[in-house]
Amino acid sequence: MSLFQEIRWHGRGGQGAWTASELLAKAAILEGKHVQSFPEFGPERMGAPLAAYTRISNKPINLHCSIYHPNLAVVLDPTLLKTVSVATGLTEDGILVINSEESPMKLKRKLCVKSQKVWTVPATDIAIQILNVPITNTAMLGAATRAASLVRLESIERVVRERFRSELAERNIAVIEKAYKEARESGAEG
């Protein structure tokens, strides 16, 4: 089966969008895939809107250019919805996963998204509950894993354990699992 997926992560400087894109890429490598993960290249400024990208394929990836038509877009910070056009270029069968307490149906209407599926998860709440900080990258990784089934949850958990200290790793894994469970889908109808 041919697999070629392009993912765009929307976050603000300091929220860990690039880390999320790397964790996903590393999880895909564990499953034998070819990957790329790269930031939207620019000086990093805390709080400024930024994007990061992941490519996953079952063949070697030759492309060395940006991503214009992602299959999946993940929004780490709900305040970005007001300033960044997060659905731009999303493929017709693409998926949008948003950190939001609102219902996915409501957001779908608000963003004028037609054919694409919208998922939401209260990632900030989950992160504050478990990590005591509003850093939502791992929560959104969990929700995105549920929404798009790009990699298995256990592969994500393995790379999280490699990346973080033991106690922090376990708390992030708790975040990932909770977000995975709590993510809600708008359904294909619009």
Partner: protein, 409 residues
């Protein structure tokens, strides 16, 4: 083919370079930080702090000093590495010539970044193209894997007694330096066995006796002294000879590495992709070649005879390989990620048209300056270039031979 077990790691281009340097048993690293080369030296500093290498690390106050420190370390017989980019490389300019003139086999990674002004941290090839004539071998890589592989090869090439020249391994800023990709890595022992110890050739000493070509109190010699119109020219003539030898040694080392690793990049000097029967083709250096290959795949599916030639080494220029590879191409676009202001085209264009002069059926040749300051070169822009080539073939006419792709006019 190889039977060595390799590890697949997720590394960006800078990390891949750092790992290759670590495995290459380097004696001295002297460097000064500059984006986007920073991760290389940061990562290497971690190896030192963690006791994973015994390398002497010299934190210098400028790039001029970094390369000077490398030069003197190399003159004592030490295996030496540094990394730089953009303004840092420009500040090394003077010492680049001293290094090649002293025949110091230093390896340097360049994370190709634009030159100021305006200040820009992103990718183009202005920095290394400006040092084209400094007597350094220049290898341009397409992906993080090739960055890893080329650093390992570079030590063997630089230190080969028939070459003894410094080598730049150039990787595109951010598109490679900060892009994490699958990188297959060899075990430490395999890399060390492949490179071996630095070979020191014998030269004539002050008394006419044969002594190792290195600074050593036991066998005092002078390296880099004054030579005026009496001997300067002969030194420069020898550097040219070493570059010619390098054409052979780069291929040889590349082929040996292919035996060890199972990985090849064309013949080590150039890489062709669907070029054999191509009517329209591009010539490119660096990571954009990968995007072009993807576009060539799409064009081939539509029955378009499109191909690409990627130059892996710009210095030495693989003159006859390029000439042979481009035989039969009817329309050619040369891609330049830097410009020679007022020079009627970019540096790669000049090289390629130079190669094509006097060939039997010279193709139509156009130049595209693209991607300056990191501007992205997406697939549709490349597709547009191949469409332009088709139009040239159809009309048999080139209206404008130097063009700018993806710029506001």
């Amino acid at each position: 083919m190889t039977t060595i077990k390799q590890n697949t790691l997720a590394l960006n281009g800078d990390e891949a370079v750092a790992l290759a340097v670590k495995q290459s048993d380097v004696d001295v690293v002297a460097a000064y930080p500059i984006t986007p080369q920073t991760i290389i030296v940061e990562k290497f500093s971690e190896y030192i702090a963690d006791g994973e290498v015994e390398t002497e690390f010299v934190c210098t106050e400028s790039e001029h000093s970094a390369l000077s420190a490398c030069l003197t370390a190399s003159a004592t017989g030490a295996r030496t590495f540094t990394a730089s980019a953009s303004a840092g490389l420009a500040l090394m300019h003077e010492i680049l010539y001293v290094t090649s003139g002293c025949r110091a086999p230093i390896v340097m990674a360049i994370a190709n970044r634009a030159l100021s002004a305006p200040i820009n941290i992103h990718c183009d090839h202005s920095d290394s193209m400006a040092e084209r004539d400094s007597g350094w071998i220049q290898i341009y890589v397409e992906n993080s894997q090739e960055a890893y592989d080329s650093i390992i090869q570079a030590f063997r090439i630089a230190e080969h007694p028939d070459v003894l020249l410094p080598v730049m391994v150039c990787l595109d800023a951010f598109f490679l330096s900060h892009t994490l990709e699958n990188v297959k890595t060899l075990p430490n022992e395999a890399v060390q066995e492949f490179i071996g110890d630095r070979q020191i050739p014998l030269v004539l000493g002050h008394e006419g006796e044969k002594v190792p070509f290195k600074l050593d109190p036991k066998n005092p010699i002078t390296i880099g002294p004054l030579a005026l119109y009496d001997y300067y020219f002969e030194h420069k003539r020898q550097q040219e000879e070493a570059m010619r030898e390098a054409l052979r040694i780069i291929r040889q080392v590349h082929n040996e590495f292919a035996e060890t690793s199972g990985r090849k990049y064309g013949n080590g000097l150039i890489e062709t992709y669907h070029l054999e029967d191509a009517e329209i083709a591009t010539v490119c250096v660096g990571s954009t070649a990968g995007t072009i290959k993807t576009v060539v795949d799409q064009l081939r599916e539509q029955g378009v005879k499109a191909g690409i030639l990627r130059l892996r080494t710009l210095r030495p220029l693989p003159f006859s390989d390029i000439k042979k590879a481009l035989e039969g191409v009817k329309a050619l676009a040369v891609m330049d990620r830097s410009n020679s202001f007022g020079g009627h085209g970019g540096p790669v264009f000049h090289e390629i048209r130079h190669v094509l002069y006097g060939t039997h059926s010279t193709p139509f040749v156009v130049n595209y300056i693209f991607g300056l300051g990191g501007r992205d070169m997406p697939q549709n822009a490349i597709l547009g270039i191949y469409r332009d080539l088709q139009a040239i073939l159809k009309t048999e006419r080139v209206v404008e031979d130097v063009r700018f792709a993806g710029v506001r006019e």
